[in-house]
Amino acid sequence: MLFGYEWVTGQGDLAFAASILPMLLLGLVVTIQATVAGFFIAVILGLIFAALRQSRFRVVRYVTGFVVEFLRDTPLLVQLFFLYYVLPEFGIVLPAFMTGALALGVQYSAYTSQVYRAGIEAVPPGQREAARALDLTERRTFTHVILPQAIPRIIPALGNYAVSIMKDVPILSVVTVLEVLNVAKIIGDQTFNYLVPFTMVGALYLVLTLIASYLVRLLDRALPKTGLPLR
């Protein structure tokens, strides 16, 4: 029994599959929650990193560059273990879910910071020159000239990372987060049937990823290539 549901054994795989589907779906909800939370952190933290890398102080730029490189070049599992086992030694105890979302967000912020940077750098230099010739302030140039043109390039790329985060959520099972893979494993441990729950996890992921990728493509097509229109 799990989450108040009973699994049905001895009546064939189909009945078993039907009986565990509600449990897996509850696990899937946790997966989606972790994706959303991790993505949220990655989007915000990445923006902060991208901004710090533009700082006029060289020290800030270098330190930020080092941190981003470090986050990108170390495995997610290492970062997760560090947050889960090392932080409590310094008195910081977070729930497993929070730790997992934080690890995902921190790792992916290294990637999203690159997305912001690439999106901004893709705006032709002539746009900045025209803004300067018209005497627009740096801030106005960024908010009204650069960003509206960068955002349609940034959003689809961020969407692709959201899909990647979703596929990395099962790693959180090692710190006891009850996401969909962990639920499947518990079911397997209890019923000695691993084939059915793991196959179902694979199928659920396939469906979820296809839907998410489709949404990203729709979003990409819906965004005007010339920039968010200002009338």
Binding site: D135, T137, R231
Partner: protein, 259 residues
């Protein structure tokens, strides 16, 4: 003669080891229309980009409307200009770019009203009325609500001219305004520039490869080569009896295919 509105005093511009302008002295009178011609890499576009403060200079001084452009006077000495000073000076100048550089996400009208509202603090209504007048001037009043990519290159460049004029500059800089255009679209842009030259007391600096137009529209033509002003003079003199051998060579090369 009155006080020049632009004065270059021994201006040096380098890109790394390459000297683009070599101790350039150059003056322009208020209201004067000056064309700058010369081979590519002669530094002629750099003159405009420096004036628009898109490129800094390494040595020398530039005076615009009686004020140093890249410097500020402090305790009787010239010190490098602050951003605030550059912002003030930029108000005197408007620029039209070879690649138009319109804001692709803004309508034609918004392209023109953006800076007057954000920089000059004009009301939305006033900026729009003024923009419509300028669109009338360049013959595009019916295109105000379109986006740049919906216009031809010639129309885009005319919007570029209206956008620069909207800031009411005293000096207009045209950086090869027709070089990126298909041949059949060059005429409409030159017509607008010609109209400005004849009907307004704007000071105009035009870098161009359109020799016939330069001859027709300018009070003075300057020939640049390898970072130096080789020769300057009234268009009729410079085009028909250039003094310098280098000018003759250049004019022969660019005018020959047309005959």
């Amino acid at each position: 003669m009155s006080e020049p509105i632009i004065r270059f005093d021994k201006v040096v511009k380098r890109f790394g080891a390459l000297t683009v302008l070599d101790r350039l002295d150059f003056t322009v009178q208020p209201g004067e229309k000056v064309s700058i011609i010369g081979p590519s890499g002669s530094g002629k576009s750099t003159v405009l980009r420096i004036l628009m403060t898109l490129e800094p200079i390494q040595e020398g001084t530039i005076w615009v409307d009686g004020h140093p452009l890249w410097h500020e006077e402090r305790d009787g000495r010239l010190v490098p200009a602050s951003e605030a000073h550059l912002r003030e000076m930029r108000k005197l100048l408007g620029m039209v770019f070879q690649q138009f550089n319109l804001f692709p996400h803004m309508t034609v009208l918004r392209n023109i009203t953006e800076a007057p509202i954000a920089v000059l603090g004009m009301s939305k209504q006033e900026a729009r009325e003024r923009a419509m007048e300028l669109l009338e001037l360049v013959g595009l009043a019916d295109q105000a609500d379109k986006f740049p990519h919906q216009l031809s290159g010639g129309q885009q460049q005319r919007v570029g001219i209206a956008r620069a004029l909207a800031m009411r500059p005293k000096i207009m800089l045209f950086d090869e305004p027709t070089s990126a255009l298909d041949p059949e679209l060059v005429g409409e842009v030159l017509t607008v520039i010609g109209k400005l030259a004849h009907e307004h007391d704007l000071t105009m600096l035009l870098v161009t490869h359109e020799m016939r137009f330069a001859r027709e529209v300018s009070d003075r033509v300057c020939f640049f080569d390898q970072g130096r002003m080789v020769e300057e003079g009234p268009p009729d003199q410079l085009f028909t009896e250039p003094r310098e051998a280098r000018t003759r060579e250049f004019l022969k090369a660019v005018l020959a295919p047309q005959e």
